[in-house]
Symmetry: C2
Subunit: 351 residues, 2 copies
């Protein structure tokens, strides 16, 4: 095949606030798609495999990798190198007995058309194409965001049937599944989102009992009192800030708050002014920060349960699919203003 | 005995901020200390017993009962009536088979010299005088504050040997026992307090590894980094506010914060500006509000353990004893400026 063009989205330099499109640069480099014999030698030396990327995932956690902060659970991106994130790819060439050309895989890949990766370092996992389930769902419903919803709701929130559940950023990649799992578990579920269209999806497609547009609500405390006159047992928090404060003031005794994300923050060290934090004590509230990666032993069970629910039509999943790697920077940036409707994915190439 | 004077500390009216002395009024009323026959008739009708109060406890939670807020775990005080709180008393007269004149009891009593109470409503419990253990310790080391330390440390913080523990308001009624239990458990313990005298007590009498005066520290984040270069596993929070924020920024992965009190707040709805709340997520921190009353099944074990430690000289306990009911308002108010050194008790009468 020889040498082909490899479009890449390059991370320019460290930032502290939410990303702008100009923090990323589109670059065209070249990559050698060697002949089989050549690659064999190369692979023996390198242990790498060559991927053709099909779908890339835009996730809010990625802003954390854009900071010059090396003590986190995940290292920062390297300035001048392509961004990295979850992707679905097809193997072009491989020396590994676990992956052969043509295989579909998911794991961490580069924001580029072709990536040369080491399977173990990238947590690469083979996926079997399935007519009923789009490949891109392995970045959302059946991937990290879906598992975040599953682990966060069942392991962190310890829900009981009949409990009152509130989900913020409820139509997002994680929130939409949290709400549906909560309904299947017999809970009462209200979601918040930032547009009328999303509120409509929550109520009419995703099966939430109620939903509201937080931008239309001048007083979030009063809003939550209206939707939860009896109080909230579980708050699945994707946004932090004012919504977290309002929720704290409306929790029931022994309430649980899963701190999953704080997408409302402009900078991750933005001061958050909480008026209702004292409620923690008389109401014995638990706030638990969590990462899905601590619960990976439950991943196979999650995959089985959620796949089965999806096949039975008990769960739906909304994707926001952008076409072309060129659209990746604006898609990532859009997460932080709520531009995406559902899980944000970028299609880099057609299967 | 007939009619005797009964000095009382009357709760004037609801407040929102920390109490002032003028929120309480000293009043002298009269109470009939009936003859035995008279009281027998009275008791049959009323089911009450008459207590002569010996010691009264000043506890920060009492401010919560001074608010016009009826949805809490404990109802507000009644304006015009005496304050109520934990006390140690002697039974003067009783119709109950469980309590007889001369018995020492602890439970909820009025801020007055004599109280007519219903034993079950006041959670009254008989205590046996013990030459080794002052009666007043049933308001501190062996009472609600001690049990708060015990339940909060063992049940909420789930400590492991060798962990790094930080305690705020560390020489107070609760903090001083948390620190000593943590040391006995094999942890490294640092405490904060608000005077040089208290810091000295923490280091030289209470066995903390280190202690500091937070009023001398211009940058609490830097202070905690100095005392915990490796980070904090457990923060037992009695103060909230800036110290909680600084601790959040210095927690280790899987750290636990027990939210026990927020004595730094001028008003319980004071906004708290947290810069480090986002740390919850990447560090998987748990913040758990708690009340000792949820763990009462462990109370007998607590009493046995802590009494035994005390007898063996493995635990000490510092009391701040005020003399006379007249000193009660200023003693209560003093809690919120840290005037007390150790557990604040008021001696109403000598045994």
């Amino acid at each position: 095949m020889g040498v082909v063009e490899n479009k890449q989205v390059i991370f320019r330099d460290y930032i502290e606030t939410i990303p702008k499109e100009t923090d990323m640069v589109l670059k065209v480099s070249q990559i050698e798609i060697e002949t089989e014999i050549e690659i064999e030698i190369e692979i023996e030396r390198s242990g790498q495999i060559l991927l053709r990327n099909l779908y890339l995932s835009c996730d809010p956690y990625m802003r954390g990798r854009m900071r010059n902060f090396h003590a986190s659970y995940v290292p920062p991106f390297v300035p001048g190198q392509p961004l990295k994130g979850y992707g679905v790819s097809q193997v072009v060439n491989s020396d590994s007995p676990d992956f052969k050309p043509g295989d579909y895989v998911t794991g961490i890949t580069g924001w580029e058309q072709y990536s040369l990766v080491r399977p173990t370092q990238q947590h690469l996992r083979k996926i079997l194409p399935d007519d009923d389930i789009p490949l891109s769902f392995h970045l959302g419903l059946l991937g990290m965001p879906g598992f975040t919803a599953y682990a966060g709701f069942f392991e962190v929130c310890t829900p009981k049937k009949g409990e009152y559940v509130f989900v913020s950023a409820a139509s997002g990649a994680v929130g939409q599944l949290v709400g549906q799992l909560a309904k299947l578990h017999g809970c009462y579920v209200v979601g918040s989102a930032g547009t009328t269209q999303k509120v409509d999806l929550l109520k009419n497609k995703l099966g939430f009992d109620e939903a509201f547009n937080y931008k239309d609500e001048p007083n979030l405390d009063a809003t939550l009192k209206r939707y939860f006159p009896q109080g909230i047992d579980i708050y699945f928090d994707n946004v932090g800030g004012d919504m977290l404060d309002a929720a704290l003031g409306n929790m029931r005794v022994f309430g649980r708050i899963a701190a999953c994300g704080m997408v409302s923050l402009h900078s991750l060290s933005d001061p958050q002014k909480l008026h209702n934090l004292y409620n923690l004590i008389p109401k014995r509230i638990k706030i638990q920060g969590f990462l899905q990666s601590d619960y990976l032993e439950s991943f196979p069970r999650f995959l089985e349960h959620v796949t089965s629910y999806y096949r039975q039509g008990k769960i739906v999943y909304i994707e926001d699919m952008n076409e072309g790697l060129e659209s990746a920077p604006s898609a990532l940036v859009g997460l932080f203003s709520g531009k995406n409707v559902g899980k944000q994915v970028i299609r880099v190439a057609h299967q």
